[in-house]
Each structure stands twice: as C-alpha cells, then as structure tokens.
C-alpha cells in the first residue's frame, strides 16, 4: 500500500521530555485523516518533523513516498502546510505574500494570476487582500494560513489546528472547504483537539496522547472500538410476540430484552440505517412505536475513555 505519510518509530525528545514517542503513523492517500489529541500530546511536534522543521531524535518518516530530511526544498513542492496559529510578515499585503510564496512554489505568473484570486475568494478575504497583514485579525491570518497551504495545488495538505481562532461561521466554512479540497484526490492530514470536527470531516483518525498512538483506524471503527455493541431502546404500545419475532429475525440483532411495553435491542452494527430497519420491521408486524432512542458510542466516548484511562494510569 502506498501511503501519503508513513512514519517509523518517529521520536522527539526535549531534554528528558518525550514529546513524540515511537510514533508509527500511516495516512492513506486520498483520505481525510484526523490527528486527534489533547494539548501537549505531540501533534505539532510530529507535523514539524514531517515538514523537516525539526530533526527527529530517532526514527524516520516518509511523505509522498520520499524520505523526510531537514531542509529538503524540492520535497515541499507538492505539500501544503498550515502552521499552528500562523504568523505572516506584517509589512506585506496578503496578495503580495501569496504572490511571493507562489514564486517559491515555482508557479508561473499566469498560474499565480489564476490561483491567488480564487483562493482569496475561497477563504473569504476578498476585499481585504490589498491590506497589510499587520492590520489583519487573528482569524484573518488563519485564513491566509489556509490559502497559502493550497497555493501550489498540493497532493498533500497538512493543517495544524485549522479552525482554531475562527468564528463559528468560519469554522463551518473551513470544514466545508477541507471536504472540498479532498475531493480532487488529495490527502488531508489535520491535527485537532476538537472531536466533533474530526468526526464530521475525517474518514480516518489517529488518537495520540503523550506522544504515543492510542488508536488509529477509520473514524467508524475507532468510534465503535471500545464501547460494546450499540443498544436501541424502544417503547411499543402493543408489544406482541409477532413484533418480537420479527425484530429477532433481523441479521444485525444480537439480543433482545422486553419488559412491559419496553423493548431493548442490542445490535452489532453502528450504521445509522439500523434504527430505520428496526422500526420498519416493528411497524410491518403491527407494532406501534411510541418511543425510540439509541445509545451509540461517539468518538468523544472513545477519546475520554482513552485519555482518561491514560491519565489515571
């Protein structure tokens, strides 16, 4: 399998502190991969090693099939990187900065003339692009950060906490934008400590704490990994045996319990359509559903379990 990012025992020590500990990370091409962890987990340190800003204490990394070395300029031609809380020179106008960065990406004048206005529009800075960056708000600088990471039409986009510091509308816009970016066959690797963000936009997730990976898989698998099977609680006005048999016959139903009008169905699948199928069967068997609720585990449950577990250890 060809990965966009692959690390092998990647480690970074700061004196006695192990910021990143034997990290083995695999990011599939053409995926949106979330890098989730609490403050100080080692996310930024990892991303900086991937970008050649920091030298690993041990281990190695491959990005887009190429071994990462500190300061390998050409390897960065196909990567877009947005630093955490990026800062740009105050004395430059946004449009000048993007033009200069474009030249660094070896883009022709024509390519820059096409790409830059599009990006300025995309990140919602239209009308302000000729202002000095010194006059920009924090969120606006963050938006330049996103624009400059997409400048070179990169194969791989690495974003360090892209929605931090944005207003709620901005956050939603950025999430939509990230989904959009990934559509053209690109890979997006983004760090975050916002669970719902990762759950909403990512298909894969790696959870990291204290420099070590706790879980890494598809968002769905990770979500269902630690909490047992999901339970559907139902209240049925006329709970007949017909209804019970009908539900029992469904392939994904593991067990059912009933008491009075209450029916609890334990299912093996976390698909959203499970609920629909169950309620359809009940209605077809003549049952009248008066109440229904489902307890499925979320990424948040998993996260709190994992991190909480690690903290009390």
């Amino acid at each position: 399998m060809d990965y966009a990012i692959e690390t092998d025992s990647l480690t970074k020590n700061y004196g006695g502190l192990i910021a990143v500990n034997n990290l083995n990370l695999k990011v599939q091409k053409n995926s949106i991969h979330g890098f989730l962890g609490p403050n100080g987990a080692g996310k930024t340190t990892t991303l900086k090693m991937l970008m050649g800003l920091l030298k690993p204490s041990k281990g190695s990394a491959k990005v887009l099939g190429r071994e990462v070395h500190v300061d390998d300029a050409n390897s960065r031609l196909k990567i877009g990187y947005m630093p955490e809380l990026p800062k740009f020179p105050k004395h430059l106008k946004c449009i000048e900065l993007l033009d200069i960065y474009g030249k660094m990406y070896n883009m022709t004048k024509q390519q820059r003339a096409e790409q830059i206005p599009k990006l300025i529009n995309l990140v919602g800075l239209k009308g302000r692009e000729k202002d000095y960056i010194g006059k920009y708000s924090k969120g606006m600088q963050q938006r330049i950060g996103i624009a400059q990471a997409l400048l070179n039409n990169p194969e791989l986009v690495i974003l360090d906490e892209p929605s931090i510091g944005l207003d709620p509308v901005g956050m939603v816009e950025v999430r939509e934008l990230i989904k959009e970016i990934a559509k053209d066959g690109r890979t997006v690797f983004l760090s975050s400590h916002l669970l719902f963000e990762v759950e909403q936009i990512c298909d894969h997730v790696t959870i990291i704490n204290k420099g070590s990976v706790l879980a890494s898989d598809t968002v769905q698998t990770v979500s269902s990994m630690f909490i047992g099977p999901a339970l559907i609680h139902l209240e049925i006005a006329n709970l007949t045996n017909d209804v019970i048999f009908a539900v029992e016959k469904l392939p994904f139903v593991k067990k059912i319990y009933h008491e009075g009008i209450k029916l609890t169905v334990q299912v093996t699948s976390h698909d959203a359509d499970v609920k629909v199928k169950v309620s359809k069967e009940i209605t077809n068997a003549g049952g009248v559903i008066v109440g229904m609720s489902q307890k499925t585990s979320t990424l948040e449950d998993v996260f709190i379990q994992l991190i909480g577990g690690a903290r009390t250890q």
Binding site: L54, A73, P83, H91, Q115, G145
Partner: protein, 320 residues
C-alpha cells in the same frame, strides 16, 4: 483550483531557472520587508546627515576652506557610520523571522535554508548599495560646492565598493549573531559591545605601542601612517578595514608610493620649557599593499561570519 501541472514539471526540470526564481522570490520578500520598515527611511536620512556634517564642518571650523579636487573620491564613511548602517540594515533580518514566527511559513515553502540565507544577504547588499549610492552622490555634489571642482570622479565606484565591503564585515557579523541568538536585542547588544570595545581599545593600544600592523587585523581604523606622494604632498592614511575604499583610491592615484608609520613618544623631547613629541619611524609599507591587505582581511571576516551564520541557520531547529 486546478492549474496545469505539466507546466510545473517541465519547469522544474530546468533546475537553475527554478532555483533563480525562488531565490528572487526570497529577495523580493526581504526587500519589500526592508524598504517598508521605517528604519529604511532612517538609514537614508542618516546617510544625508553624516554627509552633510562632513561638508558643513569646514565652514564651522575654518576661516579658509582649502580647495580639494579629490574630496569626493577620498571621502569614506567613518567607523561609527559604517557600523550604524550595517546595524540598521542587518540587525533583525534573521532574528525577527524567529521572533515573529514568520520563519515557519517561510521554511515550509520549497526554498532551502541556503536560498533563504543567500536571499537575505543579497537584499542586505542591495539596501546597503542604495544607501551608499545616495550617500556618495550627495557628498560628491556637495563637495563641488564646498571644495571646488572635483577630478578623477571615475574612481567613485572604487570608493563606493570599498565602503560597502567595510560595512559588510558588520552586516555579516550581525546576520550570524541574529541567526545564532534568534533575538534582536541580544544581537544588537553583542554587536554594539564588540564595536565599542574595538573602537575604544584600538586607539589606546595604538598610542601605547605605536601603529602596530597587528591593529589592521581587527575591524576598525587600524594603524595610522603618512602617505607621501611623488610631488611631496602628505596624506594621513588609516590602514585598517574601515578605510578600504579610500586606500584603494590612493593606491590607484599614487601607485607604488609608500606610507610611513611613526611612533610618537609623547614624553621624550625637552626643549627649554616645552616638551615636544618625538617621531620615530617604525616601518614603511606601500599603499598598494595596504589596500590589498585591507581587502583580504575584510573579505576573510565576511566569509567567516557568513559561514558561521549559514551553518547555524542550516542546523537550527524551528521551535517557533
């Protein structure tokens, strides 16, 4: 959001063109940054100021202003000005990238650290060139009014070049310190400390031990001697790196002429009630040799400082 990727691949195969474009992008980045800092206007204003002082001083001091047809081509910026120009141009070129955190987006572009370093260096050179061109043009025009018609103006580029080299010792030292400390204030303190110690210590050594040739190996004015031309005019000559431009002009104007270095013994001769300083000839060097040695020493400093700065920049971890 798509553009023609083929074009990009085609161009990157032409490596040198691609490198040059990226290099020029760094220069452009740095120049815009430099020119818009208020300090740039300060540098130009400072150039006018020190030149004006040089031109107006004869009026303040003297009754008769001697006509001097070589004033313009033998005008060199003084040690302090050379240092101040360098300071203003180079003190935060490196360090402020780290202090403001702008180094992170910069170094994650496809430009190598070497390219960034060279770009910043080249931009510093351009700014210094502009400042000194302003300074020397203004001085030349002014000197025509003050000292009469000027001759041999074709040597102006030589004095300009020499002064740029002199100032570049400090520019490269500041770039190296800025990269190592990543801190502007610390860089200024270290550079100013070094400048002031040399500026004060060397003249004291010179008085105590005479104009030793060892003085010429430190950045500064160096040993002071007297150039005697074929027609027996005398000029005071500083053999150090700071006077490189003027010495190169002298070497071209008076090829093969010698500079005598005297030790002055302030306590030695007693004539009646008066004590007169005694002059003892220590050694003689040709003006051509002095200019060449100054150039080699200055370039050696520049190369060493730049190597230190470049290696430090290559090795540094970006924790910002």
């Amino acid at each position: 959001m798509k553009y023609d990727n083929e074009q990009q691949t085609q161009e990157s195969s032409r490596g040198s063109v691609s490198w040059f474009r990226r290099f020029m992008a760094v220069v452009h980045y740095e120049m815009l940054w430099n020119i818009r800092k208020k300090k740039f206007i300060g540098v130009i204003a400072f150039a006018f100021l020190i030149s004006s002082i040089g031109l107006v001083l004869p009026f303040i001091l003297g009754d008769v202003i001697p006509q001097n047809a070589h004033f313009a081509i033998t005008y060199g910026a003084d040690s302090l000005s050379l240092f101040l120009f360098a300071l203003v141009i180079a003190m935060n070129s490196m360090s402020s990238e780290f202090e403001s955190g702008t180094i992170v987006p910069l170094l994650t572009k496809p430009v190598s650290r070497t390219t960034v370093f060279l770009g910043k260096l080249f931009a510093a050179f351009i700014v210094l060139l502009i400042s000194f061109t302003v300074l020397f043009t203004y001085t030349t025009v002014g000197s025509i009014f003050v000292f009469g018609a000027q001759s041999d103006l074709g040597l102006l580029p030589v004095v300009l070049f020499g002064n740029i080299i002199s100032a570049f010792i400090w520019v490269s030292m500041l770039l190296a310190m800025g990269t190592i400390t990543k801190n502007t204030i610390l860089t200024v303190i270290i550079a100013a400390g070094l400048f002031i110690s040399l500026f004060m210590a060397l003249p004291i050594v010179s008085v105590l031990s005479g104009p030793s040739t060892a003085l010429n190996y430190f950045p500064g004015t160096g040993a002071t001697g007297t150039l005697i031309t074929a027609d027996n005019s005398e000029f005071s000559v500083n053999a150090g790196t700071d006077s490189l431009g003027v010495n190169m002009v002298y070497a071209l104007l008076y090829p093969g002429q010698n500079v005598n270095f005297f030790k002055t013994d302030i306590w030695s001769i007693q004539i009646g009630d008066q004590t007169l300083p005694a002059m003892e000839l220590l050694y003689t060097e040709s003006i051509g040799f002095i200019a060449l040695r100054g150039l080699v020493i200055a370039l050696a400093y520049i190369v060493v400082f730049l190597l230190i700065g470049w290696l430090a920049f290559k090795k540094t971890q970006i924790n910002e």
